[in-house]
Amino acid sequence: MSFLELRGLGKRYGDIEAVSSCDLTVEKGEFVCLLGPSGCGKTTTLQMIAGFVPPTSGQVFLDGRDITALKPSRRGLGIVFQSYALFPHMTVAENVAFGLEMRRIGRGEREQRVTETLALVHLDAMTDRYPGELSGGQRQRVALARALVIQPQVLLLDEPMGALDAKLREDMQIELRALQRRVAITTIMVTHDQAEAMTLSDRIVLMNRGQVEQVARPYDMYERPNGQFASTFLGKANVFSGRSNGKSVLAGDRWFPVEGNIPEGDVDYIIRPEKIEIVDTAPLLHGKVSARVFLGNHWLFQVDTPLGPMHLTQPNTGMPATGEGDVIGMSWVGAHARVVASGTSR
């Protein structure tokens, strides 16, 4: 049995199905991100694991034990709240020590562990400050230290980077990842930022409208999205609806290449922009460049085709020969395309 397991976990608020029957297993030491658009039920799922929201169906198992009915204070999970929820009337050290006090840990050991944990998050110099006197990044690290110091079995984070600016966010992501590796703690983090989820997690749990869409490693989810939602939420994708005969896909009046076994019938044909090449001979599709945008490490082209607007990107190896208004031919190989039955697309 896995370390943490959610079995058919669901929550209804009246008519709203905030989370419907979520199944998930998390291994010990794993870093899992719950990713999805706003309102898809990420926080609700996390709060059910934490014990603050009682589920209307399903169970939570931790280390083989059913903890569904256990009080939050008895679960021993470390939680970093979106607002950090630092105790404003206590100093940094007092905040971090609180959980140890609740565990009746003696003064000597308590102080030692507080010092160690604060050193871990590089806050040794701030012990006697109040949360009001800290910057956003520092507050976040206090919250992290407060959750880690009790040596929880699982660390739960609800959008911990939400309140940070872009640069700090990147730094903290790297730091969090390194920290998680060092203390080898099972971690579940909520985010709606796909780049963050890719950077940090061993596996991504993609959620949409209260349901788990796909659970996969970041690379697998990017390369083999299981539907239109997954392909467009994680990175950019061109999606055509078409019909499959099992060997090839007909979209508009053209046949597109595929590889391996594909479903038959109505399908979505998905191709990532960076997999498309500009070719002079034997293109799969023609189109007219309607916009060319410079994005630093690559160029983005928007191309009007008979199948609608498409995106393609080219690495920045100098000023491209193709400009706006040019008619170009596009091609790609079947191995890079992904075909899923339309039913699974949401």
């Binding site: 939050p72 204070s73 979106q82």
Partner: protein
């Protein structure tokens, strides 16, 4: 905010400032000077400057008793209001919004009703032939009516009724600023309900308690209608004494000196408390 070098803000605040200076500051200064005039029973207000009125207040045990009663009563009322206000504000913050509006009307609504009306209610309740006594006698708990009208206890009860909404409001306001996630955080760290109240919620509402105390203390030390009606002649407090000096014995200089003393004590307490709160909580709540 726009930094203004021009004189516009002064012109904008001039009418208010003029009104306040002319009808508050100036009269107060005149009261201060009035308190320095000598007074004689036969000739009335005399000429010259003297500190006799203040000396009388400092020396005379009659006034000692009145000041002690006033501020003792204010202190007691404040403490009772804290003891009632804390749990009440906490309950209010936890009620569903429908019950909360109903409770607000009941608990805080009396604030909008004239103090005279509310005090009249207590007079009817507390009198010798009052409802409380009649009820207690009917049940057989007492034979003789207990005296509540014109007593310290009766006045304190009525004052608590008049002033406790201010305390509830102040504490409730600070409870609303409290991030509910901090309670969750404490719970996830293993704290039980009592610990959460004691270690997380209560310390965060102390500023509310202090500001509520300030209001209740100041208002109760300067309360007039309630001590006048429930306390009556026998239970004089500083404001009712001032009233008697002014409209009864017509010793205006002495009344003015009493008023200045009351003002100074109330202001000192308020400012000291404000300073304390700022000093103690500046770091914590910015």
């Amino acid at each position: 905010m726009t930094p203004s070098r021009n004189t516009l803000p002064f012109w904008l605040s001039a009418p208010s400032l003029l009104l306040t200076m002319a009808f508050v500051a100036l009269p107060l200064v005149m009261t201060l000077s009035l308190s320095l005039y000598p007074y004689d029973l036969t000739t009335g207000i005399g000429d010259g400057m003297t500190l006799t009125n203040y000396r009388d207040i400092v020396i005379d045990e009659y006034f000692h008793a009145i000041f002690a009663r006033t501020f003792g009563m204010a202190m007691l009322v404040t403490v009772i209001c804290i003891l009632i206000g804390l749990p009440e504000a906490y309950v209010l913050s936890r009620l569903s919004s429908r019950w909360r509006s109903v409770s607000l009307v009941i608990v805080l609504g009396p604030l909008l009703i004239s103090v005279v009306v509310r005090t009249l209610g207590w007079a009817v309740l507390l009198g010798n032939e009052g409802i409380l006594n009649n009820a207690l006698r009917a049940i057989g708990i007492i034979d003789e009516p207990i005296r509540l009208m014109f007593t310290f206890t009766g006045t304190v009860v009525a004052l608590v009724h008049v002033l406790v909404p201010f305390m509830v409001l102040a504490i409730w306001a600070s409870l609303q600023k409290l991030d509910p996630a901090t309670e969750h955080a404490a719970e996830s760290l293993g704290a039980n309900q009592i610990t959460i109240l004691r270690r997380i919620v209560f310390p965060q509402v102390i500023p509310g308690v202090l500001s509520g105390s300030l209001i209740v203390f100041a208002l109760s030390a300067s309360a007039f209608a309630t001590p006048a009606i429930i306390g009556g002649r026998r239970l004089k407090v500083v404001p009712t004494t001032i009233y008697d000096e002014f409209l009864g014995s017509l010793n205006w200089p002495l009344g003015a000196a009493l008023a200045v003393t009351l003002l100074v004590i109330v202001l000192t307490c308020s400012l000291a408390m404000n300073r304390f709160v700022e000093w103690r909580y500046r770091q914590v709540f910015q």
